[in-house]
Amino acid sequence: MQRQSRKKMREMGQGYFFMSPSLLVLALFIIGPILYVVFLSFHKVQLLGNGSLEFVGLDNFSRLADDSRAQIALWNTIKYVAIVVPAQTFLALVLAATLNAGLKGQQFFRIVYFLPTLTSSAVLTLIFMWMYNKNGLINSMLEGIGLQGYNFLGDPDIALNAIMIMNIWSTAPFFMVIYLAALQDIPESVYEAAEIDGANWFQKFWKITVPQLRPVTSFVAIMGLIGTFQLFDQSYIFSAGSGGPDNSTLTVVLLIYQYAFKTLGTMGYAAALAFILALVILIATLLQRKFSKEESLY
């Protein structure tokens, strides 16, 4: 009996020992900061000198209503999410289904498609800025087929679209791999039955592949949603940190960064924005989950 409990105690000690590094980081750099950000969002934060905190109640939240840049940032981010998530999900699905059709050279295409996922956002953004240059590759190609060129980096109507195209291109392959793994799980017999019934490739794709993959699609959409809401690197590098031209590439996270680290005395406001962003992502995730659950009932 006593030996048994000593063994238990030892296992407990081992458990905490094995968990200790994770517990430390979780407490100090994840859970602590989450509580801290809520606390900060009710304060005016001064970093200069010894630093000071002044309780301001809900001021940081009500400030949002008069902040036109915050509204622009929110609008830009929503536009970006609403276009990029469906586009990259669809592209990923089509690529995965095509790759999975059992053609020769699959492995080669898979490796090629994966290149953007491996490359850092900083490098990809620089490559695209060079291609988007006024007399760069893309404009030359457009002019080559008789279209007009664009001022991708300088035109406020175009700049965000230029980032969208780049990011759809660079994230779709990652989600393609997730789809590919899920495609392996669809039983071959389903397709064979459909073939006997005379279904063609497109019908099989639309009537079997798409419905069978619905749970994965939901997962991919949530991941995409979380990722796109956090757009920062590309906007920052594109606009040298400003969110320009004319605030057209200003995203919520870039704005949070600017308020927190580039302007004085607005860190508390930035914390409030970060808190709101977390809530928006959470709600979007839960909604997406709820919808996809309801759908799968049918």
Partner: protein
Amino acid sequence: MKKKKIGAGKVLLYGILIAYAITTLVPFLWAISSSFKTLQEIVSGTISFIPKNFTLDNYKQIFLQQELFPRWMFNSVVIAVSVTFLNLLFNSMAGYALARLAFPGKKALFIIILAVLMIPAQVTMIPNYLILKSLGWLNSYQGMIVPSMINATFIFMMRQFFINFPKELEEAAEIDGLSRVGTFFRIVLPLAKPALAAQAIFVFMGSWNDFMRPLIIMTDAEMFTLPLGLNTFKGQYISYWNYIMAASMVFTLPVLVIYAFFNRYFIKGVSFTGGK
């Protein structure tokens, strides 16, 4: 009749595959070719994938023009390697404890880890900055390494891995007199190689490519990592695209080399992060 139809479908599928392969490759080929061009050819605006006057000078010049380049690379290597090593160790330990050991609060911890998976880094970036500042860890390696030395996704992944791990091996080791800690390091970890490899690539890539964290923590140019350095370099040599592309290629190469070696684990890792 039927045979012909299959042929047409195949052509269409190959068409899609090849068209997208070209779409993927063109930016990279353009970047590589630009990195071997002279500045004269870059500014002239001629469009050719084959450099007119092939030159290796850009690769030499970036190191001469920006003497901090080797330093940035060194910083990136130190941080990415330490972060990867510590993640492998600590995530495995935590995953093992959650899978195998009984201790009070285990369930709650597991739920917390699952919840943390959903929290975007932007939410914690401001408090993290203040915490690191009060620790005096801004502009330091530990400021970059310690907060990212665990990862909830991979703790979760290791837990799943160890749950499916045959218990008999550990029991045999215990009978042979090995302690729990000894069993973990000498029996369990070596057998977890595939899971560790997948994890290693993702953690390394995440750290190597990270832009936002060093942007906030490292304000001293000496302490920049490569992505930050690259961004600064772009600011200084704004129209020297031959230099910028050469620097970008130098920066991308290590990840490509790692990918070439660990390719199959990589796919496994992605399907795990997606497959749960």
